[in-house]
Every structure is written in C-alpha cells, then in structure tokens.
Symmetry: C2
Subunit: 475 residues, 2 copies
Amino acid sequence: MAKDNFVEQIADIETDFPQWYTDVVVKTKLVDYGPVKGTMVIRPYGYAIWENIQKEMDRRFKALGIENAYFPLLIPMSFMTKEAEHVEGFAPEVAVVTHAGGEKLAEPLCIRPTSETIIGSMYSKWIQSYRDLPVLMNQWANVMRWEKTTRPFLRTSEFLWQEGHTVHASEDEAMDETLKMLAVYEEFARTCLAMPVLTGRKTEKEKFAGAVATFGMEAMMHDGKSLQAGTTHYLGQNFAKAFDIRFLDKDGTLKYGYTTSFGVSTRLIGAIIMTHGDARGLVMPPVVAPVQAVIVPIASKKEGVMEACRALKEKLAAAGIRVVLDDSENSPGWKFNEWEMKGVPVRIELGPRDLEAGKCLLFRRDTLEKTECALDGAEQSVRTLLSQISENMYDRAKARMDSRIVRAGSLDELLAGVEGGNFVRAGWCGCRECEDKVKEFAQATARVLDGEKTSDTCVVCGKKAEHTVIFARAY
Amino acid sequence: MAKDNFVEQIADIETDFPQWYTDVVVKTKLVDYGPVKGTMVIRPYGYAIWENIQKEMDRRFKALGIENAYFPLLIPMSFMTKEAEHVEGFAPEVAVVTHAGGEKLAEPLCIRPTSETIIGSMYSKWIQSYRDLPVLMNQWANVMRWEKTTRPFLRTSEFLWQEGHTVHASEDEAMDETLKMLAVYEEFARTCLAMPVLTGRKTEKEKFAGAVATFGMEAMMHDGKSLQAGTTHYLGQNFAKAFDIRFLDKDGTLKYGYTTSFGVSTRLIGAIIMTHGDARGLVMPPVVAPVQAVIVPIASKKEGVMEACRALKEKLAAAGIRVVLDDSENSPGWKFNEWEMKGVPVRIELGPRDLEAGKCLLFRRDTLEKTECALDGAEQSVRTLLSQISENMYDRAKARMDSRIVRAGSLDELLAGVEGGNFVRAGWCGCRECEDKVKEFAQATARVLDGEKTSDTCVVCGKKAEHTVIFARAY
C-alpha cells in the first residue's frame, strides 16, 4: 500500500529517534547536506519556516524599539582576544581567513562565531553621551562555529540566527533588558511554535563565554532530552571595558556602559521537529507552517470538483491562510501521506459527494481527527481550527513535559530519571565539582537554575543546596 | 545659522561629488566603515532601506513562483575551478579559509563570491526528471569579493544581495527567464526606487564569468557616470555541464539543463543616493524610504500642539505611512535641516496657528515646495503626495538621463561626451580591440548594447558597426 511505503521511509520514532530525525528532515526536503562536512543547505520548505520565524520575531523586536543593522562577517583575530573568557570559549571553534585577493593577509580574520566584539568596537565609536543610550540593535546573519559532530539544524558549522546587542546606562536597566528578552523568547515559543519551555539562569559552567550571567530557554524533545532553544546574556561591563564603550553621564563623568546580547537560530527548526513530530513525520505549528492547509481533490475528474477546489483555495488565500491545492496526478492516498509527512496542520478533502452536500472534510494533523465543514464560511472554520491546533499542540507538549519532570535525591535517581527520558529536578550545592560529577555519572548537564527556594541537599555531595537545578541530557 | 552649519558638513555636490557622497553616507548614518579594510557596517537608517528593498523584491519573486532557500557560505576551492571562465573571473577576488576548529583544512574553502558552483552541485543531486523543472530558487545572502578600491555600498569586500538561480529544460525557456527577470528589475527600479535605467545585453568583455550572455540595467548617477544596478545571466549549459545537472526528458533521453542567475545588491542603496541626492543631502524615494514623513512641531510648548502632533502621527501610522514625530529638544530649524539631509520625502509642520486653522504645512523634499493641507484627511493628502513625489522623482531623473545621452561619431567626440558627464551612444564593430581602445582613450566602457539596428560605423575603427553601444564611465 502507498501508505506503508511512505511510513517505511521513516525510521520508527520510538525505537530509533536519531534516525527518525535524519529521515524526516531529508525526506520532507527541509534540508540537505552541503558539500563541506558539517554544513547544511536549507531547502525551500525549511527556509519558509525560518522566514515565518523571522517575520514573527522581527515584529516583536521592532515593537520594542530594536532596530536592525548589519555588521561585517570578518572579525580581526585581535578583537577576539580582548575579552579573556570570550576568546577561550570561541577561539577553538573559529574558521580563519588567511588569504584574500590572492595575497596573504597581514592579520588573520575569523568568520564571526558571534558578534559581540565587532559590534562592541563600533558601539565604542558611536556612543558618546547618556543621550545616545540605550542602544538597541539586532542583526539577522549567518555565523560559523566549527563543530566536530554536526546534525542538520541542531549543530552545523554555519547557521542562521538573530543576535541582539544592547547598551544601557545602568546595571539594572541592562539586567531588565536581559530578562525582558527571555520573556519575549518564551512568549514567542509558546505562541508561534506551540513549544513549552523552561526558562532560567544558566550555571557558570554553561554560560556564554564572556557573560556575567546567561539565561536560557530549554525545550523537551520527543526523547526527553533537552534542547537549548534561545539564550539571553547579561554581559555587565565585560565587553564595555574590552572595547571602551563609554558615555558621558548626566553628572559629567565618563562611565562604561552595560551590555546585553541575545539570540535564537535555525536550531529552532530542529526544536519544532523534535517537539511535535510523530510516527508519520512532521507536525508543523500553524503560525510558522510553510503550508497551513492543503486541499486534496477526491475524484478530481468528476464535474465541478476541480473548480470547487480552486474556488476554495482562492477563498482561503484571500483570508490570509497559506494554502496549497495539490492538483498533481498522484492518488489521494499518496497525497494524504506526503502532506502528513510534511506536517501540514489541516488537510481539506473535497469530492463530488461533499460538493453536492455543500461541505468538505477537514483532517487535523495533530490529532488525526476528521470533521465536516460547510464550504460556505470554510475560511472561518479553517482559521478557527488552526488556532485550536496551535493551542492543542502547546497543551499536549506542556502536559508531556510537566509529566516528565521528576525529582531526584541521589545520583542514582538522577541517572534513572534521565535514562527514562525525563528532566530531573534536584538540589545542587553550587560547586563545579558536583556539576562535573553529574555529567560524568549521568551524561546530564544543568539546563537551568530553577526559581524556587530550596531546603534541599545537593544531589551529589549531600551538603546544603544553593539551587534547585533542572538536569537533563541535551542536544 | 543652524542651516549653514548643516550644509557646511557636506561637500558641494557639483564641485566635489565623491566627497559629497562620502559625507552624506556617513553623516546621515546610513553606513560606517568596518574595522577590516573594505568592509562596511550598515547602520539602522541604511539597513531599513535594504529591508524595504527586500520586501518589495521578495514579493515580486514569490508572485513568480521563485522560492527562497539558503546555501552554505563556504565553497570547496575545487568547485570554483570546474567552470573555466568562472574561476578565471572570480579566483583573484576570493577570500580563503585555510584553518578551522584549530586545524589546517585538507582543502581550502572560499567564501562565496557568488553561488553558481555550490548551487549547481546541489541541483545536480535534486534534479532527475523533466518533472522537476523548472527549478526557481533565490537566496538572500552575504557574499565576498576582495576588491582593491572600495566605497560604501558601491564596492565593498562583503555585501548583501539576492541571487536567483534557475534551471530549465530548454534554451528558449532559460533565455525567457533571463529577460523576464531583467524586466522585473527594471520595473522595480522605476516603481520602488524612482530610478530610470537603460537595459540591454553586455559585451563579451563585460559579461559575468561563466555566462553565455549577461544583461544589465545601468543607471545614470548625478555626475553622469553609470552604475550597474542589476544583472541577469543566461548561463546556457556551462554550469550544467560543469556540475552534471541532467534530467531525463519526456523522450527518455538524459539531457543537460539550461541555467540562469540574476542578482541585485546593497549597491542599489548607492544608486539611490547618487541618482536623487542634492546639495542638502539625500532625497529618498518614498517606496523604500525608512521614514516617509516626519512631523515637526512648531512652538511645541503652546497648548494643544504636541497632542495634535501625536494624534496626527497615530492617524498616519494607522494609514500605513512610515512616520516619525520629532519631539526632541532641537529647534525646528535644526530639525528641518537634519531631516532634509536624511532625505525624508515629506515634512509636516504643525504649530498653534495651523492648529487653529485646522491645517498643517507639507514640505516636499524633492521640489522643496510647501503646500497647506487640512488636518482632517491628512493621511490621504500625505499618501497622494508620496505618490506624486515618487513619480516626479522618476520623471525628473528620466528627463535628466535622456537629455544626457549624446551621440558620438569619433573617439574625440566620445571622450568629450563622457567628460561632459554624458552617456555616449556610438557604433561599434564588435571587436575587443576597439572596445579596449575606448577604455584606454576615454576611460569609458560599453555599458549595454542598444537594441536599435544600426547603419553606423564603428566609433574607433570606422568599419561597419555591428552594434550601437552605450558607452560611459562607470562606478
């Protein structure tokens, strides 16, 4: 059967999740492997998701007064070394340009792994007075981090992202910005990706190289592993001092600014796939789905069917729904399977009998349920259904995540927890040694510090806990 | 006077146009120089123009069925050498990555100067059958060409662009695509940039490295020099053969595809500046202007003025006009000059007397004329004025260009023509030697071949002319 052929193309999601992921991203044409090891080609179906992410995120940024700009790809190597922790963190991963225009360069240039340094050097030039603050900028760009082990969207040598970079006159204002952007990311993940996340501060070990404090949002993937889906950084005066970002304050004295940075990347596409996907393939959240509804004509040769399908398509498109009419020569069954694998939220079936009854069938990808719908006013029904799907996908993922956060009082319990595909909440004394021991013993890392006060003891050493931590294995 | 101070910041456009350009791009904060020689930082006011260009162009592409994708930045050096003319043209300009992740790479990688090669390698993998054709893709990306002499927007080592890449089953279809995209560019330049262009085929000397034929659009800058503002390339089977892009045709035989490519870049921002700018600075075409209207309160402390300005701003914004209310503490005169330098198409002045009369003053940047306008329905008046400005800017630039295309029957006339800041139309026999002689004698190049049939003689050798050519000095 056609259906079986399709499903056979994809590895079983429960028994071989890594292979399922690889099969799905390649077979739905989201992505392909580039000729250079570790690189990816984002194909139109994948890039359309990114365009929708950009549109939604960019609207939020602009509403907050954040302006887009574009800074150079190549950074002088000497810039990287100005902030000690920063160079330590990123130098091992950079790609280096040594020759250009047929000549050896006097100073090697690195391809940006992130742009704090080059943007800092420009801010230093642009900022003179407290009147120039705050500076709120963002760029949509490609960055490069040379990684040993790569997987499409999750970890590739080059990826696309947005990086926000702000400068403020005070510590409080910069910290507020850092937390505000974390909240923007959380709301975006919930509303646009139907993706629940845990947010919180990162440990010293897990923070951004050069930050005073990093905050992250972590999402639970199908296999119970965590994926860092976005981070915001309070950089204090570290980069301001390294790049001499100073302003004349109201009191007439020259002060260093306080900076922040924040970013999300094409990794979010991997997060969508691994949060919502099922045995049949992708399940796309409606807000960022490249195609929100597909119309499949049934018995398309019968009189009036194709005309009705085309009219319906026009009506939905006019209502702002991203709709495709599949008028290819494949059988309806083949089309069903293909669009299910591609995760299109709503399938609309329309045949002669439906037409006669003035209705069509709506199939929703998230629950696999079918309902009837009057052709008259179908655009409203589809729009409502898309909202319901979005909410249901979020609720389902949230319930699943919540049910898979377990407590551990010992390393053995922690190990059992993560091996069972859970996030593990446990006390931690705050020392690096205990954090390393968790990694060694359970291959789990501290994802975020949990807000709640704790009277716990450290899951490793048994001393009084300083923090409650969410530990998990992570992508 | 404030006004004089402002104008003094910018060199005189008539006597020192290069300095005028540098002054204007830096002082209006469109751009700044990056730390690496030849690189630029596109600041928010400049990047907003690019975002508007992208939005308008992308809409046109999508309406034509062109899909966006993203291909890797780094291209194996061996790819570049597969098409003989291509490597000859681009190898001298590439930036080369030799080290990454702390190791020397087995094969050096070049940063894309353009992506025909890497995209060709992927198309070869994706295209099997005639059913897969045509393939119509585009990417918005950064590219790098190491240039000796650079100027912001016009020629920088890194720039942003779009590059379309298509594959077709036949020569005719590919050539049609090449010419269709040239027409899209021309319409875009006219409608969105108020910029008249001459379009036509390029000579062999001036064509893209690896193309069978290149078509370009050329715009006349304030100093009479030409700027290549966009190109489309018919690549024949050159890249299809180099990268083995083959498809099984309906007749059951395996055939090479025919490919095209086309691109416009951030250079367009330079073209806008140098087409429309005047002694006071920028004159922004309304469709892509970051700010379309600025409201300047007069006697802003007087009762009701700021409230009225804010209400007007809301009304204009709700009507989809990109509007700014300048409520800074600067004097109205200072504001006038600043926003004039920034080229905002419409300035709205609103003071107590206007308010009493229920009107405001509209100042248009293109003609420097003022008109009164009722506050009631101001959004409609501003919208109409923006359209008029756009049309007037085009008509004015078109009349200017048309009046500065002169004929030449000899090399001396040609030299006099370009020295007078004109485009020169002249006969050409078609040989490279004569083309080189024009360059040597008059520092002018063949911009495009003119469509009209000619009974002319070659401006250099006096033999029968094969083509009529537009010669000009160029950026």
